[in-house]
Structure formats: C-alpha cells, structure tokens
C-alpha cells in the first residue's frame, strides 16, 4: 500500500481524534496509508506578525524539513489550520530568499547534535521548500482522483443533500494557499458529487464561523454560526460537511446555544468529510466517533445505510 507522509496536528490527536480515525480508515479503503511523521511538533496554528519575522515560521519549517530529510516530498494534512500554516510557511520559504536563509539559520541549530549521533547522515542542506504540502481533500482530488473515488464507492450517498462549508483558512490567502478559487471554490462540491450525494448551494460556504472568537467572544461565534447553518438548512441541506476541527467545534457544539438565542432554529448535523468518505467506502459506523458530535447524526447515517440496503 502506498504510504503518504501525514501530519495530523494536535487537535486530531485529541479533541478531533474522530477526524483522524475516519481519515485513516478512508485512506486505507482507497488504497493508501497515512503514514504519521515521527516526533512531530505543533505547527504553530497561525503565523501572526512579529518583530522577528521568521520566528513564527520556525516550528512549521522544522516539520517540513524533517519530512524532506526523511526522504519524502509530499506531506498530507487534514486540519485546515495546520494546512494553512504549513503551506504558507513553505510558500514563503520558496518565494523569499531572505526568509529561507534566516529560517535555516534557526533550523541549523539542531545540526551539531544530529551529526554527532549519525556520522553517516547525509550532509546538512538548507530547506528550500522542496516538500509539497497537500490537504487530504486536495490529495483525493489531484492524486486519487474523484473519478477513481466514484468507482470505488460501496455505499453511495445517494439522495443525501450536503452543504459544503469551507470556512476561512482552507482557501485564504489565495496567493499563498492556491488550493481553489476563494470566491468560487469547487473542491468540496466535487468531493460531495464523488460520493454520490447532492450539493446544496448556499451563499455562506466561505463566510467565517468566528474562529478563535469562540473562546473570547462566544456570542459572536454563535451569531456567525447561526447565519451559516440556517442558510444551509434553508436551502434544504441534510447536513454540513467540512474539514476544520475549529469550524466543526463552532458549527456543531454551538448549536445548543444557537437554539437558545434563535428560537425556531432546527439543529443540523455536521460531518467531517472523512467520516462520510469512510462510510461511502464501506466503513463501519461505529468507528466514526459519532458519539462525540453534539448534534445527533443518526438520522443521516441511518439513511445512508438504508439507502444501501434498498439497492
């Protein structure tokens, strides 16, 4: 089985372990294995500005360099924050010579120890952005191929109406991420169609859910999440599908609060794309971590299995 270097990031090891588990399961059903990096660290989550410009890029650079040094040129990640951070770091290293040199100055501080341990280790070379960072969804689109996925469906999600939710950092900033058009993306739509489900168009798919304001200003997040979810539900969606742990948190666990503030709001299930992928590929419903969802998903999941049985 093809092994693909995989960076899970912290959330997937803990609060979003069902995202990790479903992704691994789905990948193996599609014929590749998510091969977790050794001794990885936090990516830094966001690169804010700082006086020493490259300081915030060091952690993510180290992950990329270690990936390259282990002989791999492709790194797959799932969490939108990790994806954004790693991809932008890599972009800056590739684009800007000064950033590249300065980052390598930091990275080089690990050098003496390595040389001491493995004298035969290949000589130190600057990390110059050799690794290609891919979102798992991007991998599915560009490497596996949506057509190939469609061929392998064992439990097509026919009849299911799914609202794609992109959030912010999966697509933006466009010049550094370049995954899709930030105003008119189609990657999740393509994914939904590849699973045999129907796409629900609604205007809020790229609007922000509030991100970290979830902690500092929960009410703001509640209002934003309400707009997104009610718009999707209003267009007839059975569920929302996304990939970011933080978006998941805001859109799923916040629905209780939404119901309190906006009477008449009807809860709508939220899925990680990997969960639906795993199910569509014949995965076991007990392995998707549905018990961790705040909004009950059983209706939708039941319908997936029922659909299959009808056939």
């Amino acid at each position: 089985m093809v092994k693909v270097a995989y960076y899970p990031g912290c959330a997937l090891k803990d609060r979003s372990s069902h995202l990790d588990a479903s992704a691994r399961d789905a990948a193996e059903r599609l014929g590749f294995q998510l091969d977790e990096l050794e001794s990885w660290t936090c990516c830094g989550a966001v690169p804010p500005v700082s006086r020493e410009r490259v300081m915030n890029l060091v952690a993510s650079s180290r992950i990329l360099k270690n990936t390259r040094d282990s002989g791999r040129d492709l790194l797959v990640t799932i969490c939108d924050f990790c994806y954004n951070t790693l991809k932008r770091t890599n972009h800056r290293i590739r684009k800007d010579e000064i950033t590249r040199r300065r980052i390598n100055t930091y990275l080089a501080q690990e050098k003496p120890e390595r040389d001491y341990i493995e004298e035969t280790a290949s000589p130190w070379t600057d990390y110059a952005g050799e690794v290609r960072v891919m979102h798992l969804m991007e991998y599915l689109r560009d490497v596996t191929g949506y057509d190939e996925m469609r061929k392998r469906l064992s439990r097509p999600l026919e009849g299911l109406k799914l609202a794609p939710y992109y959030g912010c950092v999966m697509l933006r900033p466009e010049n550094e991420i370049g995954l899709d058009d930030p105003e008119d993306p189609s990657i999740i739509e393509g994914f939904i169609e590849a699973l045999g489900a129907r796409v629900v168009n609604y205007p809020y798919r790229t609007e922000c859910c509030g991100s970290y304001l979830s902690v500092s200003d929960p009410d703001v997040s509640t209002r934003l999440s309400y707009k997104i979810l009610s718009s999707a539900a209003g267009k007839g969606a059975d569920a929302v599908i996304l990939s970011c742990p933080l978006c998941f948190h805001n859109l799923d666990s916040r629905q209780e609060a939404i119901s309190r503030v906006f009477p008449g709001f009807k809860p709508i299930p939220v899925f990680y794309f990997t969960q639906l992928l795993s199910l569509a590929m014949g995965g076991d419903r007990d392995r998707q971590g549905f018990s961790r969802h705040h909004v009950d998903v059983s209706g939708v999941v039941d319908s997936i299995f029922a659909e299959k049985e009808r056939q």
Binding site: V49, C168, R172, P173, P245
Partner: protein
C-alpha cells in the same frame, strides 16, 4: 445665573502633524505588517465583505484610514482589532493587494506591547480549555495575549 460646566465636545478634530501622518505609528504598522497602509484608496471592499463588520465599532476600511493618518489612540482603543477573526476575507478581496489581516495582526501586536492581554489564558474557562480544539486556543493566545 448659574454657571454650568459644559461637557467636553464629543467630536474633537483630529490633530494632524508631520509626525502623525508620516512617522511613528504608521511606520511601525508598516514595518510589523510588511504592508504599505498608504496603498489603501478607501474603496471599502474590506468593510463590505467583513463577516464581523456588524460587531465592530470602526469598520476595517476606516481603520486603514486612521492608520494612514497616524491616529494611534483611536485605532488601539477600538474594539475592531479584537473582533477581527483573521479570516482573510479582506485580504483576498483588497484591490490593492494589502494584506489587511496582517495589518490587524500588527495593530494587535502594538496594543499588546502596551502590556495587557486582551484575553489571556486565565480568562479561558475550564470547559473551553477542555473542549475547544487546540488550533482555536493556540491562535487565540497568539493573537489576543502577549
């Protein structure tokens, strides 16, 4: 006749000097963010599309204008910088290619350098600490606390 003291007028004129409009604050913002605030021609696109605009007391485009004019106090006291969720919507739409999100980051940084966290780890409830995914907590600390 009784002499009543008048309340101070609410809308004092901005004081512009060579320093406020060219040096100091604007330069710091430019250096930190790597952006040129003077590129902004006030089209307002950032404000139009900002998902948090209705939560802000000063719209992003006005923040850019205030930075151009070196109005440090008004900018740093505005709640806008703490409401911005760094979603990059403004950045991708700016016709002049200004990374407005980075300007917001820079403003937050300058405000935090004055010494107080806007929202520090001690304000996070144990329930939040236990449930919010790490990227949310990490980015929150990095953006809103020193």
């Amino acid at each position: 006749m009784s002499k009543t003291s008048l309340p101070p007028p609410e809308n004092l004129p901005m004081r512009l000097t060579r320093d406020t409009v060219s040096e100091g604050f604007k330069k710091r913002v430019a250096e930190l963010s790597g952006q040129n605030p003077d590129s902004c021609y006030q089209c307002g696109n950032c404000s139009s599309g900002c998902p948090l605009a209705c939560e802000m007391n000063i719209l992003p485009s006005r923040m850019m204008r205030l930075v151009q004019l070196g109005q440090e106090e008004t900018v740093l006291e505005s709640g806008t910088i703490w409401i911005c969720a760094s979603c990059f919507q403004c950045t991708v739409r700016c016709p002049r290619g200004i990374d407005i999100q980075s300007v917001m980051d820079a403003l937050r940084q300058i405000a935090l350098d004055l010494g107080t966290d806007h929202f520090g780890p001690d304000q996070v409830t144990p329930e939040q600490a236990a449930t919010v995914p790490q990227p949310g907590l990490v980015s929150l600390y990095r953006k809103l606390s020193t």
